[in-house]
Symmetry: C2
Subunit: 438 residues, 2 copies
């Protein structure tokens, strides 16, 4: 932790010196809002409105069925995949944007199960993290049930000791949604491979947020979300990646026509396409895919300003600053830190904790109410409930997207948090009615 004393002026100086600052103009953000929830729903790229209008009015409205070829809808999942591939250390032809993270995880986890059972038929254990994002665990339960496998949930510090030769698959989310803690993908993959374990990575909270090098790490399968850090729009299609040494070894069970080698020959037998195309299934939502392209285009534009190295440096500077300011200015209010201080273990978010018993009248943690009071002030983060034990506390979660969050934003956000805590504003009844769904 830096001992530097930050001020609003020093934060403004950081913004003035920030080479990435011009990128903020590519986004449409509401006046008076400090948006620290891009890890849940990324902001709207300004180009999206015109692009989607063009798709609706010209391509759909005027070109109609011919737009599948004329406007290139037919291979949009793969073209967007190729555009984004370098940002996760993948090659051309290896990535497709399609369906949802949950569905893509079902595809790759089934392929991984088939691979594991082909290579090491006796193994039945699938390892994951207890605080992995729940949909990953739900999908894994389904795949395990179908393949006679057992899902074993571990705390993060217990994972390496369990990477033994009785494990079929290791399924992890690279950056944890509750803590912002990042796994060492290369080290864990190497350790798992040394034991013959297949590795599946969920990049929902890391794609576009931190450097990812799937080929460098020699990962096996990966999936991820496009509506968080990629700013693809609400529910925009997710991505799927398979290492080229594995792509053609199996095919996934959602064997729809878009994954067929010749979908428009309309033959009755499924024959999977070569490459990542076999991970496609049905017809994709073109309006949503088209908006997503505008999100990816901002990343492409950022390359001239330093690309991922610059984004990562700014992200760490933002999260360092937030942590330092919270500790300097919000002390004495029961706020803790769930996110690792070590840069190599930190994603692009900071998760604060608050213990049970600190809420109004000693009920609950008060974390939900604090987040609501901040939202009412225009500082948008989110709340993630703990499990009621000391192990997983209630979380106040703040995402720092270097594309559109600045250093003065961090200053003001912490000042609001300080005011909310110091004034007791969060104790107002209006902030203590739990009815949020996201």
């Amino acid at each position: 932790m830096s001992p530097t004393t930050h001020t609003l002026e020093s934060c403004r100086a950081l913004d003035a010196a920030d080479a990435l600052a011009p990128l903020k103009a590519q986004f449409s953000l509401p006046q008076g809002v400090i948006y620290l929830d891009g890890n849940s729903l990324g902001a709207q790229p300004r180009a999206a409105a015109a692009r989607v209008a063009e798709v609706v009015q010209q391509e759909w409205g005027q070109d109609l069925i011919t737009a599948w070829n004329k406007a290139g809808w037919i291979d949009l999942p793969q073209r967007l995949g190729d555009q984004f591939a370098p940002w996760i250390g993948a090659g051309t032809g290896q990535v497709a944007f399609t369906d949802t993270t949950s569905i893509n995880l079902y595809k790759v986890l089934t392929a991984a199960a088939r691979l594991a059972q082909a290579e090491h038929p006796g193994r039945t254990r699938v390892l994951s993290e207890r605080s992995n994002f729940p949909t990953d665990l739900y999908i894994a339960q389904s795949v395990c049930q179908a393949h006679g496998l057992e899902l074993v949930l571990l705390e993060p510090e217990d994972i390496t000791a369990q990477l033994r030769d009785d494990v079929a698959i290791l399924m992890l989310t690279h950056v944890n949604y509750r803590t912002g803690a990042m796994h060492d993908m290369a080290a864990l993959t190497a350790q798992a491979h040394a034991q013959g374990i297949v590795c599946v990575w969920d990049l929902c909270h890391s794609a576009g947020a931190v450097p990812v090098d799937l080929l460098g790490a020699n990962a096996d399968y990966a999936v991820g979300c496009s509506y968080k850090y990629l700013n693809g729009g609400p529910g925009a299609p997710a991505f799927v990646w398979v290492h080229p040494r594995l792509t053609d070894r199996f095919w996934q069970p959602l064997s729809g026509w878009f994954g067929h080698a010749a979908p428009f020959e309309f033959t009755p037998d499924y024959r999977p396409a070569a490459g990542i195309q076999r991970y496609l299934c049905g017809t994709q939502p073109i309006l949503s895919l088209s908006a997503l392209q505008c999100g990816l285009d901002v990343f492409t534009a950022s390359e001239a300003l330093g690309g991922m190295a610059a984004l990562r440096a700014k992200s760490l500077a933002l999260t360092d600053l937030f942590i330092a300011l919270v500790e300097q200015r919000c002390a004495g209010h029961g706020i803790g830190l769930a996110t690792p201080r070590e840069h190599a273990r930190r994603g692009s978010q900071v998760c604060l904790t608050r213990a049970e018993g600190l809420g109004v009248d000693g009920q609950g943690s008060g974390a939900y109410a604090i987040v609501q009071a901040l939202i009412a002030r225009g500082v948008i983060g989110d709340f993630r409930k703990g499990d009621g034990t000391g192990r997983h506390l209630d979380i106040l979660r703040f995402g720092f997207t270097p594309l559109y969050v600045g250093f003065a934003d961090v200053w003001h956000a912490v000042e609001h948090l300080r005011d909310v805590l110091a004034s007791g504003e969060w104790q107002q009844p209006e902030f203590n009615h739990v009815n949020a769904v996201t």
Copy 2:
């Protein structure tokens, strides 16, 4: 077949008397185009452009993460399902728009397999139609492989004889994509149920096109497409329906968080929601879902003009007229009819055939080139390849959407077809290069 001699004037008189004619103004269609491919991609409702702009600019851009509640994104799949349910004879809470037809079929077919194996453990046969839409067969192959079932493909006239007590599942598409032939859903379902067979219906070419009464037919499971007759936009999410007596008996394998009983409690164990919500999986593409609502709104608006009874009457009048005109004015050019003349067996499309050997220099059927020549004249239908046998000929396919196709449109379309055939225009080399993908 009617012996009436139709003229352009008689067709215009039919348009003038058509109570549904005002609905055409709700669609944006290109000038000079007669669009007979709404069975592949429906036209753009005029309301879609403004609605999608509102979602992009206000809901995503300004409301950001709060739009999940504020704009009602969170339950949009079910709200759209409730809006459309009456059009397929389903009840409130029984339908959801989500994912793709292929993926929804995977869900319900797996649930059907679980049901069949629970009720009649020894049965292994899954019956379908050889010329079912291929993605249905591909998905069925995958589900059969996973459950030790055997997919048996039949010609339509052989189905009833095979509905015996060794069959687990009957999976049919209500209206055939190649021929426009419609099955008798109620009769086949009753006959199948009498033998303990589970029935899965694909409504891709019937939802919004013909009367469908799922509850009346006592069907078990159904899926369907929203980008054809529902005019939901390219790749708009598909729908899924499960009979309420079955919904809670099993859950489907794509067990993502949106199908969980309490998705935002973030518990590690999957607990399926009650009702159709358990057929949801991941986060849905909100831009595409929002455009779909505009397509459904046109159906809602049509209720005041007679609803499905009026739409069906006009659809049959359009297809009757097309068949009569083709036979009167295009005779002698080797054009046949694949679509049943009997109203009870006809969907909302007419499929013409052309035999192998009738193409340029006796190569192929010439059907592809005829369709291309028509498209060049602004009459948009599509081509579906035969299997090279006399059994399944090459198809020229024309969809008649009563929401925006008129009787004079039919007249002009047939005149263009007549000109293309009589002049030999279709033989031009430019129309004979097969490179279309849709």
